[in-house]
């Protein structure tokens, strides 16, 4: 589904990511773990095309998308949930979801029903300005916005960051379920141990801009993970 080969990204001459090799199969839920500042968000941004790699390639669904513009990647079926949610604050909830409709242009049916089923609050608050909702609600909206277009691949950037625990619980329960239901592939970056354990089938550990280890589902113990995370 998604393959990165020798991916190198940087500002100026200092690379932030070096030689990233990574692979996600269709239907998998894969995590990328690491401490603050190791390059997790940079990885996500280069996968959606907001940052241009200086070297290496990204292959998605059998085609090379390294040079594809961001919006074309979305239309090809990559849904993205940015790190700090980044909902459009002055648009209403409903309008935010509408913007997400352009994700995955191959899909005929939009997933409003599914979104409202998992996150009923989005239907209740349809006409509220997104900027006036709480962090957790905004996270649900960001997820809903990426979901309505029924993407084939969902990229999640630290879904648990700055959100009340009950909603984190809900998200870590819902995402794998949605992935199962829809056959959706998920790649997420995270440093919350609980979320990683709850969601990943396997994960990559990243340190100072490069992948240092790959952990199977049996390796996701507190002790193993702790060496890669700031716990």
């Amino acid at each position: 589904m998604l393959t990165c080969t020798d991916l190198t990204v940087g500002y100026g001459s200092t690379p932030i990511l070096r030689d990233i090799d990574l692979h996600v199969d269709e239907g998998e839920v894969v995590g990328v773990i690491g401490k603050n500042g190791v390059g997790k968000t940079t990885l996500m941004k280069s996968l959606v095309g907001l940052l241009d790699p200086t070297d290496g390639s990204i292959e998605y669904d059998g085609t090379d998308i390294t040079d594809l513009p961001t919006d074309e990647r979305a239309k090809a079926g990559i849904g993205y949930i940015p790190q700090s949610r980044d909902v459009f604050p002055d648009l209403t909830v409903r309008q935010n979801l509408l913007v997400g409709e352009t994700v995955n242009e191959d899909v005929e049916e939009l997933l409003y029903d599914t979104v409202y089923e998992y996150f009923p609050i989005l239907e209740e608050r349809a006409d509220q300005a997104a900027g006036s909702m709480s962090g957790g609600e905004q996270q649900m909206l960001a997820i809903g916005r990426a979901l309505v277009g029924n993407p084939d691949l969902l990229l999640l950037d630290e879904p648990s960051e700055g959100i009340q625990p009950s909603i984190v619980q809900q998200i870590q329960r819902d995402i794998p379920e949605i992935s199962d239901d829809l056959g959706m592939t998920v790649l997420f970056v995270e440093q919350n141990l609980g979320v990683i354990q709850a969601m990943s089938e396997r994960c990559y550990a990243i340190e100072r801009g490069t992948i240092v280890d790959e952990l199977g589902s049996s390796d996701l113990t507190d002790d193993t993970l702790a060496q890669f995370l700031a716990v």
């Binding site: 959606v48 095309g49 907001l50 513009p69 961001t70 919006d71 979305a74 239309k75 993205y80 940015p82 980044d86 459009f88 604050p89 002055d90 648009l91 309008q95 935010n96 509408l98 913007v99 997400g100 409709e101 352009t102 994700v103 995955n104 242009e105 916005r145 990426a146 277009g149």
Partner: protein, 293 residues
């Protein structure tokens, strides 16, 4: 002495003029953060298009459509070749559009000479007792209001408008949602230019058609955009209402000069005491009232 009917018609005139002067500029500035100093020249292009086509014998409405089209095409070319490269450099975009306006005015002068023969004002007059008013200019204020409502609906009710606003608020995220933000910018800029063209088209029968005619609109346009504040369309409406009232009232009482001065002084006061402009102040007020309930 204040005559109520006179005052009303003068207010309509003022309101229409301010709205039409500002709306194209407001859309481009408010949605894209670009200060388009070639705004006046786009108005001029709209007026020239209209006048040339009308002088060739076409009906006025068709001529106006041609004027709008001319400005829109000019806008498209300007966006693709110049403004596109300057989205992250607002000051440079000011310099570039100023330079463009300078060149455009002179190019039009070289091609079409120092003036075009005008087209008469249609519709005739409305009479109340000893007083009469140009029907056409009264119609313009209605058109201005309709434009505001139309633009409001486009930017809040249509998919295009919502995507355009999403692009303005967070271009990266919008792009990641599959929005072709380049096209949104282009479309928004072209719409702004088309609106400027429409202003030129509508005022073509009422003004002298000369290459520098666009500058007539600049003061009102900028003052309205600045005092209107963050929320573009609401801001333009409020600014035109408030400034138009001041202009009409003081013009009526003390003459045109005092009318203009009153309008400008009011604008300065608004800027000082309402840093977010009229629309920002209204939103704050609404929030405060909402908060108490």
């Amino acid at each position: 002495m204040v005559n109520g009917i006179n005052l009303f018609f003068q207010f309509l005139d003022s309101f229409g003029f301010i709205v039409l002067a500002a709306i194209g500029l407001a859309v481009i500035f408010g949605m894209m953060g670009v200060i388009n100093l070639a705004h006046g020249e786009l108005i001029m292009i709209g007026a020239y298009g209209t006048t040339l086509v009308a002088n060739a014998g076409a009906p006025l409405v068709l001529a106006m459509a041609a004027g709008v089209l001319a400005a829109a095409v000019a806008g498209l070319i300007i966006e693709r070749t110049i403004v596109k490269r300057l989205y992250h450099r607002p000051l440079d975009s000011m310099v570039a559009t100023w330079a463009l306006g300078l060149a455009l005015t002179q190019v039009v002068r070289i091609i079409f000479g120092n003036s075009l023969s005008g087209i008469g004002l249609p519709f005739g007059a409305i009479r109340f007792g000893a007083f009469s008013y140009s029907m056409y200019r009264t119609v313009l204020s209605v058109v201005a209001l309709a434009l505001l409502v139309g633009a409001y609906l486009v930017f809040t009710r249509t998919e295009f408008g919502i995507r355009a606003r999403a692009t303005i608020q967070d271009a990266d995220t919008a792009r990641a949602m599959g929005v072709d933000t380049d096209r949104m910018y282009t479309s928004t800029f072209v719409i702004g230019c088309a609106l400027a063209g429409l202003t030129g088209a509508l005022y073509a029968p009422a003004l002298s058609i000369v290459p520098g005619m666009g500058s007539t609109f600049l003061v009102e346009a900028f003052v309205a955009v600045v005092t209107g504040g963050t929320s573009v369309l609401l801001g333009t409406t409020l600014a035109a209402g408030v400034l138009g009232s001041a202009d009409a009232l003081f013009t009526n009482l003390y003459g045109t000069f005092i009318g203009q001065v009153a309008m400008l002084i009011l604008a300065i006061l608004i800027l000082r005491f309402l840093p977010t402009g009229l629309s920002g102040a209204l939103e704050d007020l609404r929030e405060r009232i909402g908060g108490e309930n």
